[in-house]
């Protein structure tokens, strides 16, 4: 049995020099590709909305490949500050040196800068995003007294999951109204099946059972689950099954345990898994 090659080759390069050379697998579900391209040509920043694991990151990778621009991805977390994005002075042996942050590097290199799960970041990060996201397209490096003007190739892409329903984790209107938004949903069953088969090499029956499993978990959203099983989880499960793991075991590991810790919920998810195969 041979393993499928990973979808893309990762290399140890400077952040802004990461070009995606192999075409990432992406199955369009609407006109999102055209929308992205036109927005990119018009230098409009983009906001990708949608639940976790439905293909936002893959879409950006695909577009970076298609537009032949380097991709700089920053996964935002609750301790991510403006300085982490813009840059800071670091002290070496005898002097202080300015080091550009990923956002500044992408602006200089004309890359696509992808801020994943932007609502997780600290509030002050939005301050540096704002001037970049309107027609000024500038990044102020206050500490250096420098103002970076973004080249036409530069693009800012944010992703955001509106499903968390938290008052704290919401984008301010002043931020979101700067962006062209593309909404992502879980794909239609037939499309999702194709995606699973392409990503994992599994057969039709398994993919179809996994899609049904996913729909059952998505019905439980708000009834004990925050999110249903994402396409990504289904791909994980499918890969385990293709390599010879029993479907029930694979679904338990890749889907049930990934969705919940509650014993009753885990039991239900296991019952789903044994019922759909």
């Amino acid at each position: 049995m041979t393993l499928n090659p990973p979808p893309m080759q990762l290399q140890s390069l400077a952040t802004e020099a990461r070009f995606i050379e192999l075409e990432p697998y992406y199955h369009p579900t609407g006109d999102e590709i055209a929308l992205f391209e036109v927005a990119y040509l018009n230098r409009l920043p983009l906001l990708l909305k949608g639940p976790t694991g439905c293909g936002k990151t893959r879409f950006v990778e695909y577009m970076a490949w298609r537009l032949k621009r380097p991709l700089v991805t920053v996964s935002c977390h609750d301790d991510l500050t403006a300085a982490d994005l813009v840059g800071r002075y670091l002290i070496t042996a005898d002097e202080t040196v300015w080091i550009d942050g990923p956002l500044a590097r992408s602006v200089r290199a004309g890359a696509i800068c992808y801020l994943d799960e932007i609502v997780e970041a600290r509030r002050d990060t939005t301050v540096v995003i704002h001037p970049l996201a309107d027609d000024r397209r500038m990044l102020p490096l206050e500490k250096r007294g420098e103002l970076l003007q973004a080249p036409p190739e530069f693009a800012l892409v944010l992703s955001y999951n509106p499903g968390y329903q938290s008052v704290l984790k919401d984008l301010k209107p002043s931020t979101r109204q700067r962006f062209v938004a593309i909404e992502f949903r879980y794909p239609e069953p037939a499309v999702e099946e194709t995606i699973i088969r392409n990503e994992s090499g599994t057969d039709h029956a398994t993919a179809s059972a996994l899609v049904r499993l996913a729909h059952m978990t998505r019905n439980l959203k708000g009834n004990g689950l925050d999110e249903g099983a994402s396409t990504r989880l289904l791909v994980h499960a499918a890969r385990l099954i293709t390599r010879g793991i029993a479907p029930a075991t694979a679904c338990h590991g890749a889907v049930a345990e990934a969705l919940s810790d509650d014993p009753e919920m885990l039991r239900t998810l296991d019952e789903f898994a044994t019922s759909v195969f």
Binding site: A83, D94, S166, R212, M216, N219, L220, T268
Partner: protein, 684 residues
Amino acid sequence: MPKTVDAPALQQQLEYLLGPVLSARRSAAPLAQAIATLDLARQAFVLHWIEVIDRSNYELAYRFAAAAPAALEVLDETAARAWLLEALDRYDREGLHSASSLLQDHAAFGTAVDHAVACNFEECAGVLRLFVRGLGGRTLQVEAGPRVSTDTDTLFLPARIAPMPSKNENFNIFKGLSTLLWAQNRFGSHHHDLASACAAYPEPGHAADLLMHLEMLRLTPRIAALVPGVARLLENWHGNPDPRCLRLQQPGATTCDSLVLLEQLYGRLEPPRLPWRIHLHTQASARREARVERERGELAALLAQLLESQRGPGAGEDDDAGRFSIDHHRGAGDGTNYTLRLDGQPLQAPPAVGERIESLLQDLGEIPDDYLQAQAGPDGNAADTAGTAPQEGSRGFHYDEWDCQRRHYRRSWCTLREIEIKPGNSAFVDATLARYRPQIEGLKRSFEVLRGEDRRLRRQHHGDDLDLDAVIDARIGVRNGQEMPERLFTRRQKAERDLAALFMVDMSGSTKGWINEAEREALVMLCEALEVLGDRYAIYGFSGVTRQRCEIYPIKRFSEAYNTAVRARIAGITPRDYTRMGAAIRHLCTLLSAVDARTRLLVTLSDGKPDDYSDHYRGEYGIEDTRQALLEAHHAGIRPFCITIDHEARDYLPHLYGPVSWTLVDQVEKLPLKVAEIYRRLTG
């Protein structure tokens, strides 16, 4: 010492316990003789439960006493307990008749059942409910019931299943039955009045069995398309179908086909024996019609609202525009997809509309055009029907209550409603503010200290700026040949107060007079102080009479600002009736759980023990139910705290709230000053 209690002594006890239902023709003597034959442990068991059941109904206790000796011969204690609890539940739900018939029929609870492999509904109810929810379609309740059936709102399942040799197999019967009943709802079995159809046959029971078998054959392929694992189980139950029934397994088969086959095969085909008999619910058709009627009205109101939001007010009066239509696409296998259109243009249906449409589609198969006319609600206001979560049905919210005698919940025992408070005179608030002005200023100052501020942490490993002092020290160090220190940054840390508090205020009759006034003053000062702090908070009053009328009075919801309306409501707090605390706590915890905060606090302002007019709520029962409700709150990650003015609180509050989570304000007139202060200590 005698090993058992003898018959005369038992008779005396029974006469005392069952007095109200004994008469000249009905004496306790035969009961006593039968019970006397049991061993001491069983005698104690019977007497204990007679006492417990007495509190619900004397007649039921009598019937239990009559049935117990025979039942205890075959049931062990666990099975007997399950049998009794089911009987009591049934009494609560359906009344004496149904409960006594179960008491006479203990066989259902298994002779010599192996308890290690039996599957009780109670223990797997959670999983089954989620499972049915996951299958999709309209939300269905799942309950234990006397007969396995569905009334199209609820799936009724057996209280326990034990015929198979392993727990897993017994659970699978539960799974099979619930999937089958779900499929009856999902795939249109009840579009026809099946009960009347069967009633036309000489033996309606036999016709119903055959019809259920035919429907099962029809539904199995539908189930197989979604959950083949369950379908295999059902195939094992019905075996290879009779060749005459094969057309039911064609994709387009409907219940009409089943009814036609019923006519042809009645008396000619013996349905196979299932692990559990599936019944027809007599109310299924009535329930469905009532729901369709209700949802039709709701849909019309929601569509009116939708039209208004699309077209602006006044739309829809013009007959030519504002016409909704629906395209049905028959999906492959599972259910129906649809597109809602307004004047031909596709429209994304809001969730509330989608829910009604899907439910109606499930009940009717398709939506007739006259169901799609936008029509404002009866009071002309469409907006009223689309409430905010959690939705309160016209019958109010239902909550379980803990019965300490049964050591079991009474299901959906309390009915609770949210009732608007009549605004009072806001002069009261102004007077309070004026009277306590200096104290309020003091409170505000002390609360300001608590407010989360940014702090700058110095000499950090990482940070957003250089710590100049540290850098200079480092330079000096390096010049002197020391090692370069690493902590050179400053970092800003935001001390956030991620806290939501819900205040639950006793509005019972006993607060009449100055207690009520002190409570209101306390709330005014609390609000003033909390506004400084910026914590999210809500205030609700509670009272009520009996389990049928528990009442909650919203004073300030989490989403509301502290404004004049809230002040008027505080002023309008008046003493009402009793304090059935369990239901109030359960309801408010549901509200509090919906708030996203790291710490959730439920603060009760109380003047005494939980108490209600009936059901023995006063005393142990009420205290234990309250305690159970508070334990549930704990499990939900809520911290309860109680502020009381009852001097006897020491006797029961530690039992309810634990040793530290309560405090006594011994002088009522100090309450206004204390409440905010206690809150500050609690959250500081």
